[in-house]
């Protein structure tokens, strides 16, 4: 049924973004002639080492931390796992997170038998509930080991006021490690604000035009974590494994490019998102923008569409060459009902018709126009 026509409208940047050209160029020599292991003691190694050191300096400058606080990982998931397991294994105590966290956080906290805090209608952690949970842990003579709250929700795009979260955590659990999964934040927020108020922060390179298989964990000086991966002692013993020079160099290049253009992109993509939201909601009844734009990032437009099933809608979109997503997929590739929408208390009639259109550095007006046309036509067809 590949009957679609025209170019692909890629509106799934939150799943992964196309690589930025400067990142591809930056990594190319390290996949080819400059293949040395930077841990070696010859001149060939030293040149690889220099590339990694420079990349680390660049990443630190952009994230507002010291170079020694940057730990390169295999991705956002590893950074999340390293933060949560690392904190609890080193310091003990209870792990706490919000109910709308990505599974890379939620499953770790559940695995540790931790506490999950409810979220509000926009998917943001309920600060009163957080305070109560922290107080309840103290009241039973226990201690909070780590609190993890995402900066931007990966499904619905809502932006957590991390400063307020930090205030609540410092007041209610002064000894706890405060972690934030900022995987969806780098393109849309000044992440220095997040790094400033937290102890550990996770990033994923492929969400901002870097390569897959690369992440960054900012581990603030003075914060100790039990390493998840032990071995040769790379990354100052915080993350062993042969240094991924090409990946690190490309990550730094992608992050630099993203941050240089970020303010302009927020304006440009934000306008595209508004066009998309208006185009869809004005033409279709019973469609809600799940989180209002003032509470969500420019790159994520999430809708809940009554009386439509996401799987069917995504099929029709795919047929028409529009790439979108609904919630997260399980190992078999099937769509799982969204734990985020459930936690937000979205009404059952709307919850099955989740649609996430996510935009980014390659998104054009034509993509948005195409998506509006196809979404409107597909929803009408499914509702017939």
């Amino acid at each position: 049924m590949n009957t679609g026509s025209g170019a692909l409208a890629y509106l799934d940047h939150a799943a992964t973004a196309p690589m930025r050209h400067e990142a591809i160029e930056a990594m190319r020599p390290f996949l080819d002639e400059q293949f040395a292991n930077p841990s070696g003691s010859h001149r060939f190694s030293r040149s690889a080492r220099r590339a990694v050191d420079e990349a680390r300096d660049d990443v630190a400058a952009v994230l507002g931390c010291a170079p020694g606080e940057v730990v390169f990982t295999s991705g956002g998931t590893e950074a999340d796992n390293a933060a949560i397991f690392g904190a609890v294994r080193r310091h003990g105590g209870v792990a706490v997170c919000s109910a709308a966290e990505h599974h890379a956080v939620l499953h770790c906290v559940e695995h540790l038998g931790g506490e999950v805090v409810r979220v509000d209608r926009n998917g943001l952690i309920d600060l009163d509930a957080l305070a109560s949970v922290l107080a309840a842990v103290s009241a039973r003579n226990d201690r909070v080991g780590v609190v993890s709250v995402m900066a931007v929700n990966n499904e619905v795009g809502s932006i957590t006021p991390m400063r307020d979260v930090a205030r609540a955590v410092r007041a209610g659990a002064p000894g706890a490690v405060l972690h934030s999964d900022a995987v969806q934040a780098a393109c849309w927020l000044d992440v220095r604000d997040i790094v400033l108020v937290t102890d550990v922060v996770s990033f994923s390179a492929h969400k901002f035009g870097g390569p897959k298989g690369m992440g960054v964990m900012v581990q603030k000086s003075g914060i100790t974590l039990e390493p998840l991966i032990m071995g040769g002692g790379q990354e100052r013993d915080r993350r062993s494994g042969t240094t991924n020079v090409a990946g690190i160099v490309a990550t730094a290049a992608a992050l630099r490019g993203t941050v240089e253009q970020r303010d302009a992109e927020i304006q440009r993509v934000g306008a595209l998102k508004e066009r998309l939201v208006a185009g869809i909601t004005s033409q279709l009844p019973d469609v809600m923008q799940t989180v209002p734009s003032q509470h969500s990032v420019a790159g994520i437009a999430h809708f809940c569409i009554a009386d439509v099933e996401s799987e069917a809608l995504l099929f029709l979109l795919d047929e028409a060459n529009v790439c979108a997503s609904a919630a997260s997929a399980c190992a078999s590739g099937a769509m799982e009902p969204s734990h985020v929408l459930r936690a937000m208390g979205v009404e059952p009639r709307f919850v099955k018709g989740a649609l996430r259109l996510s935009l980014g550095h390659t998104t054009t007006v034509a993509d948005v126009e195409r998506a509006i046309e196809v979404v409107v036509a597909s929803v009408r067809r499914l509702r017939r």
Binding site: M1, N2, E309, E311, A312, F315, L316, C330, A331, S332, G333, A334, M335, E336, P337, R381, L382
Partner: protein, 349 residues
Amino acid sequence: MSGGVDSSVAAAELRREGHDVVGVTMRLWGGESDTGCCSVSDVDDARRVAQQLRIDHLVFNFSEEFNDTVVSPYVDAHRNGTTPNPCIECNRHLKFDRLSQRARLLGFDAVATGHHARIERQPSGVWRVARGADTAKDQSYVVHMLDQKELAYTLFPVGHLTKTQVRERASELGLRTASKPDSQDVCFISKTGGRETFLGHRIPFRRARVVDESGTEVGAVDAVELVTIGQRRGLRLPGGSPKQFVLAVDVEAGTVVVGDESRLACDTVMVGNTRWSHEPPALGASVLVQTSAHGVAREAVLEEIVGDARATNQVVLRWREPQRRVAPGQSVVMYDDADRVVLGGGIAL
């Protein structure tokens, strides 16, 4: 596409005939399983076959509907002491209802599966399910519920092939499922735990007395919910006595009545929830009746239709010769007097 050889070859056949084909694997069971088509490795097989055939492959999550229409009724049936056939309910509610509905919605002209049965259009225009070419693998019994509308929308591309031919075609095409063993088991019940573990987590088992026909206690069972009419083993009867069979199960009273095999013989079977492929046969018509997936069809007469047979659906069949009692919950399928096409079927009461 379950990830098995039949649906793999079904897709290949359609492709060969020039159809525009999309492969779909239904994700049905969210819980633990090591047998059925919901395991990730089976989905991987289905996807790899689709890739080899150069067709798109999708996974549809129907686990909620599966739980509501197959798993819960299965558990309830056991709780009530009947013997359900969940694979038939899955065909009824998932493959030929939920999936077909979605396929229609998405603009597909037909849904095809790898069942060993044939769909024919008779000169009168009436659609019928006929037995598959491979009599040993015939699955017309499990798709007996299809009505005219559903039959017109369904294809069984391997129904005219024997299993051996299906495997040969898969081999010729180099499909990774070519020599994969047939699945025999209920997909949501794991091989390691079995039915007992599955049900044990969901219903409180009740002990029952095993009594003979005079009411004398002769044995005991730990779970009356697992006992089936006609069962012979697991009743803890004293050794040396003649073979005893379960004649009746009374969950409420907590008794299982056993007796000689001859006491299982019945002259009639009452069938509920009957669905006809087309019109019901005339009263007094001779039909061939099959009461298990690979059983032999026996002659019977359609003796009575209770109420409006097209809507509600109770019928009484009188055997030409007495037959072993059918366990309530089992599907009873009627074929024409040539034992070739399905007329309809329902569930033994």
